[in-house]
């Protein structure tokens, strides 16, 4: 190598060394980017994805407590103020729309609110039971539900097949709109989370 070539090598090495030293400052202008996401799941009484019902059959009786747990995991990059809205849907009521992130029109019967730290996992106990029903003409109507020992008045019509869906929607607090929102933006696309479990009742 001649002297001019050695000079170029020295200049490149010098720039490289200066860059390494200035890296902590440079990195503040390029923060780490990772896809933010949130996970929610309904777990059974043994904290597993199973054993949802008191018996092996998917049938529930009145005044039969159902011990579930709600699993939450926050990977949104910062703490999140969450609201899990519990809804009970008959067959004629629309489910939440995942592609458009529209929540179900059914009324909220209970709400769990929690703040989750970034990268935190939380298990929220969710024990519920039906404690009051009445018959009106040919239909059965659920009038009272107990969730985590709190009795709640409801008005849910059970249709002929005696099956319902219990839907959990995850809403996150939006600092900009200053309200809870069912959808959030991740990599430029709207995201939303909801779970549902089918329940069949035995009123005999």
């Amino acid at each position: 190598l001649n002297l001019d070539e050695w000079r170029y090598i020295f200049i490149i090495t010098g720039i490289f060394a200066v860059s390494i030293v200035a890296m902590p400052v440079i990195s503040t202008y390029f923060p780490q980017t990772q896809e933010p996401f949130f996970a929610m799941a309904v777990l059974g009484k043994r904290l597993q994805a199973g054993d949802y019902y008191p018996t092996d059959e998917l049938i529930l009786n009145i005044r039969e407590p159902v011990p579930w747990n709600i699993y939450l995991f926050n990977q949104m990059g910062e703490s999140q103020y969450t609201s899990i809205k519990v809804k009970i849907l008959s067959n004629s009521v629309a489910s939440p729309n995942t592609s458009l992130c529209i929540p179900s029109p059914a009324p909220v019967i209970y709400e769990f609110r929690n703040i989750l730290l970034s990268n935190e996992t939380k298990i929220v106990p969710f024990t519920w039971e039906i404690i009051g029903t009445y018959n009106d003409a040919d239909t059965t109507i659920i009038s009272k539900i107990k969730i985590n020992e709190s009795p709640i008045d409801v008005d849910i019509v059970i249709e002929n097949d005696k099956s319902l869906r219990l839907v959990l929607e995850l809403w996150l607090y939006n600092n900009i709109s200053t309200e809870f929102s069912f959808a959030w933006i991740s990599n430029g696309e709207p995201r939303c989370i909801w779970n549902q479990l089918w329940i069949t009742f035995d009123f005999s």
């Binding site: 050695w6 010098g14 060394a17 902590p24 703490s79 103020y81 769990f112 609110r113 929690n114």
Partner: protein
């Protein structure tokens, strides 16, 4: 007593209206006067009794309406307080997020604010059950915790901002000094290398074949 007086008056009048007898007109007039007197007294008593009844009814209506007004105002007060507590929690959460973005450890703050959120949930349940007193006590606890969290988060945020500014200043000085040292080191190394290189070239002897 009143009925008895009225009956007595009626009897007197019946006597007065009775068939003419040997009594004089004077005695008949006095009998009628007595009857009217008894009637007047009976009417007076009746009016007084009605007044008393009306007065009692008025007091009862006032009592019931004041209770109802208290119930309604208690309900609306709890609803207002729930909204205030909700706003306090949001303010606490905003302060926590701001502190978190500036590198504050927010674990304890989030734990405390979750306690406030639980209190608000309990207050809502008590409100729907009509137990406004219990709802108020839960709301008071909620607001107190939220206020403490907000103040603590704000204080931690300010100290974190101050700390990060100090750290940034120290880092920028350190980096500038490092860059200058590296720059001059490279110039120094380059000069030594260049001298060494030239000397090496000059020391070279042509090879004779």
């Amino acid at each position: 007593m009143l009925d008895r007086d009225l009956n007595a008056a009626r009897n007197i009048l019946e006597i007065g209206r009775g068939p003419p007898d040997l009594k004089s007109v004077e005695s008949l007039t006095s009998t009628r006067a007595r009857a009217y007197d008894v009637f007047a007294r009976a009417n007076l008593r009746k009016k007084e009794k009605m007044k008393r009844t009306l007065y009692l009814q008025f007091i009862l209506i006032m009592f019931v309406s004041s209770y109802f007004i208290n119930f309604v105002s208690g309900e609306s007060d709890v609803l207002n307080e729930i909204n205030v507590a909700e706003r306090d929690i949001i303010q606490g959460y905003d302060a926590i997020i701001l502190a978190e973005k500036n590198g504050v450890n927010i674990v304890n703050l989030v734990r405390d604010l979750n306690d406030a959120i639980d209190s608000l949930s309990e207050a809502r349940i008590r409100y729907y059950q009509g137990d406004f007193e219990a709802a108020f006590s839960y709301l008071t606890a909620c607001k107190e915790i939220s206020t403490v969290v907000r103040e603590e988060a704000s204080a931690l945020y300010l100290s974190a901002v101050e700390e990060s500014e100090k750290k940034l200043f120290q880092n920028s000085i350190l980096i500038r000094v490092s860059i200058i040292i590296i720059f001059f080191s490279f110039i120094f190394i380059w000069k030594i290398f260049k001298q060494h290189y030239i000397k090496k070239i000059l020391d070279m002897k042509p090879m004779v074949e």
